[in-house]
């Protein structure tokens, strides 16, 4: 078990070097010339200015020294200055991240709470009416464009029926709770303001469902198929012939074994979720890093969007590290080997 975890942690080293290296290459060579990008077209003719700029930012040094400087800065949290907001990118990320964490967590919870039971029921009542319904819903989830779902959802539940609130994190005119975590639901509870908590939660429902749709579909599909694969195994037949209760067979013998692919997909779909956040947040005026990334892309703010890219890559690596480590607890064979 320890060896497995240590090996997995050691793998982080090449992974992090690789990710920073790719990001370094993209940020050095993709904007055809950083000097041009930073100083503007007119200053490029001024050779003295260009030389001074190159010296100041270390662009006259060999690439590997530049890379080391880049990584050193990154470790210190220096991701450059946003061209649009004139603030350090890391500060901007800190400001916008909580809203995304709140929305993403709610979406992930919804996706798991709906997707896993749907997948299980679908598999044990194969070809029943419930199975058909859950298959259709999961197919809609993985096929419908998230931005379109958002618009249709807003049109029906906000515009026509008025059941759910419109865009934004709180009702218009309502002040946010005193900032502690910047997760409005948590902060509202911390100061004991229950109606504010409900308002924040109310505003999370529609964007949460829209963002969850794709992952929910994915989780339902993978749970169903891995359950179907496990119910045919010999040990399930053995359990049944021992006369165990059906619920024990399903949860202890089938579901636990079907869980590993589901957890894997969960980790991988976290990336999808953050990608979906760009579209969802843009439509729901949700002040998270998705909207920040969108604004940065539209205003050609390269340092800002590269900051978001790196942040999401790191989150993805971290989440998948947790997923891999969770295998140890799910699969006893890994504990020994």
């Amino acid at each position: 078990m320890q060896r497995f975890i240590i090996r997995r942690l050691l793998l982080l080293i090449p992974l992090l070097i690789g990710v920073t290296l790719v990001a370094f290459v993209i940020s050095r060579w993709v904007p055809s010339d950083p000097v041009n990008a930073a100083l503007g077209q007119n200053a490029v003719g001024d050779e003295e200015l260009v030389a001074a700029f190159r010296k100041k930012w270390g662009l006259d040094k060999p690439p590997y020294i530049q890379y080391i400087t880049y990584v050193t800065k990154l470790v210190q949290g220096d991701m450059g200055i946003s061209i649009a907001t004139h603030r350090p990118v890391i500060d901007d990320l800190g400001r916008y991240l909580p809203a995304t964490i709140e929305l993403g967590t709610v979406a992930m919870i919804m996706a798991v709470l709906v997707g896993v039971p749907f997948g299980i029921i679908s598999a044990i009542r194969r070809n029943s009416f419930l199975d058909q319904v859950s298959r259709v819903i999961s197919l809609i989830g993985v096929s419908a464009p998230v931005f379109w779902l958002a618009l249709v959802g807003l049109y029906i539940f906000y515009g026509e029926l008025g059941w759910l609130p419109g865009p934004g994190r709180l009702a218009i005119g309502v002040d946010p709770p005193p900032s502690v975590t910047n997760l409005y639901t948590v902060d509202a509870l911390l100061v004991g303001n229950f109606s504010l908590f409900l308002d924040a939660l109310y505003h999370l429902i529609l964007p949460g469902i829209v963002l969850a749709a794709f992952s929910m579909g994915l989780i339902t599909r993978i749970t169903r198929s891995s359950m179907l694969e496990t119910v045919d195994q010999d040990y399930v037949r053995t359990a049944r012939s021992k006369g165990l209760k059906e619920s024990v067979i399903i949860y202890r013998h089938t579901f636990r074994n079907a869980l590993i692919p589901t957890i894997t997909v969960l980790g991988l779909s976290y990336g999808n979720l953050l990608t979906g956040a760009v579209l969802t947040e843009t439509i729901f005026s949700w002040p998270g890093i998705g909207q920040y990334a969108f604004k940065a892309a539209v205003s050609l703010d390269f340092p800002a969007i590269m900051g978001v890219t790196m942040l999401i890559a790191f989150v993805f690596i971290f989440v998948n590290l947790l997923v891999d480590i969770s295998y140890v607890f799910l699969d006893p064979r890994l504990r020994e080997g």
């Binding site: 993209i26 055809s32 197919l139 993985v142 998230v146 618009l151 760009v278 892309a297 390269f302 890219t309």
Partner: protein, 308 residues
């Protein structure tokens, strides 16, 4: 013997027929029958194929069947609800939504196909070499795959758009960079199991070189799952392209493109038809690719469900 009795051929006739048709003819016919049997049992695949063919036809024939010019503005008729002249209504500039919708797949469909083909080829090469050769090369290849897997598709595409300017070409490049790792992972897994087969040992025993074993013996057996993955993936690639152009990071604003058209409707919330119909187009074609991909995967090998 039985089949000849049933077909009523004499012994001589049987020999003659066998000589005429030969084994090839028979296998072709049974292939055709197998496909028919498969389609009858998997109606969703049939429906999916019909939808895909429908959209490809509409997209290719848009010039001939669209009732109006997709770019033609008619400000007098702006924001009309669906009616007998404009079946799907008009947008904020009085352009016919139906006509624009017919042209709307001309960018994202080919772009998605290019990305999937590039990713499929690169991923298959990386994955098969890693799985076949093993050792240090496998480690290096697969760790590189992990690195590219960590980058978020749409956001990296946005970063490239921010650096090089938004265009479909740049979006295709950006997405190809991050799209291949999935294929590399699946193909490596397949190659690892294929290379244990006895026919691989046999081909080595008769003196085939390693590259030849990989190319002629191992890879052909990995192609079918890759095609299934690509079919399922086409839907995803269309979704991502539609998302990029919805955000304004794809083609020019006035271009009739499905994602772009949905974005046009954003400012005209009560005129639901502006965004509802193009959104429906994306939805149906992505769903169709999922129908076909699912059906093929289940038919191919149920055990692949885990991998793909």
């Amino acid at each position: 013997m039985q089949s000849t009795t049933r077909s009523g051929l004499s012994d001589r006739g049987k020999i003659k027929a066998a000589a005429l048709t030969g084994p090839q003819m028979r296998s072709k016919r049974s292939n055709f029958e197998a496909i028919r049997y498969f389609l009858r049992r998997n109606q969703l695949v049939t429906i999916g194929i019909i939808i895909i063919v429908f959209w490809i036809f509409i997209t290719l024939a848009a010039h001939f069947i669209a009732p109006f010019e997709p770019l033609q503005q008619n400000l007098v008729d702006r924001l009309h609800a669906p009616n007998s002249t404009y079946l799907f209504g008009t947008d904020q500039l009085g352009r016919d939504v139906l006509s624009r919708m017919m042209y709307g797949g001309r960018i994202s469909l080919p772009a998605a196909i290019v990305v999937v083909i590039v990713a499929g080829i690169v991923g298959t090469l990386v994955g098969s070499i890693a799985g076949f050769v093993g050792g240090t090369i496998e480690e290096i290849f697969m760790r590189t795959t992990d690195v590219f897997m960590a980058f978020p598709t749409i956001i990296l595409a946005m970063a490239i758009a921010a650096a090089l300017g938004p265009s479909i070409g740049n979006a295709v490049i950006a997405l190809s960079i991050v799209w291949w790792p999935n294929y590399a992972r699946v193909v490596r897994g397949l190659v690892l199991s294929i290379k244990e087969n006895e026919y691989v040992t046999a081909s080595r025993a008769i003196g085939a070189t390693e590259p030849r074993v990989l190319r002629r013996v191992v890879l052909p057996n990995a192609i079918a799952p890759v095609l299934v993955l690509a079919t399922l993936d086409l839907g995803n690639a269309i979704l991502v392209f539609a998302g990029l152009s919805f955000l304004g990071l794809g083609p020019e604003p006035s271009t009739p493109e499905w994602g772009r058209m949905v974005a046009d409707g954003l400012a005209f919330f009560d005129q639901w038809w502006i965004s509802a119909f193009p959104g429906l187009a994306i939805f149906t074609i992505v769903m169709a690719f999922n129908f076909v991909g699912d059906g093929l995967r289940d038919a191919l090998d149920p055990r692949l469900r885990r991998q793909i």
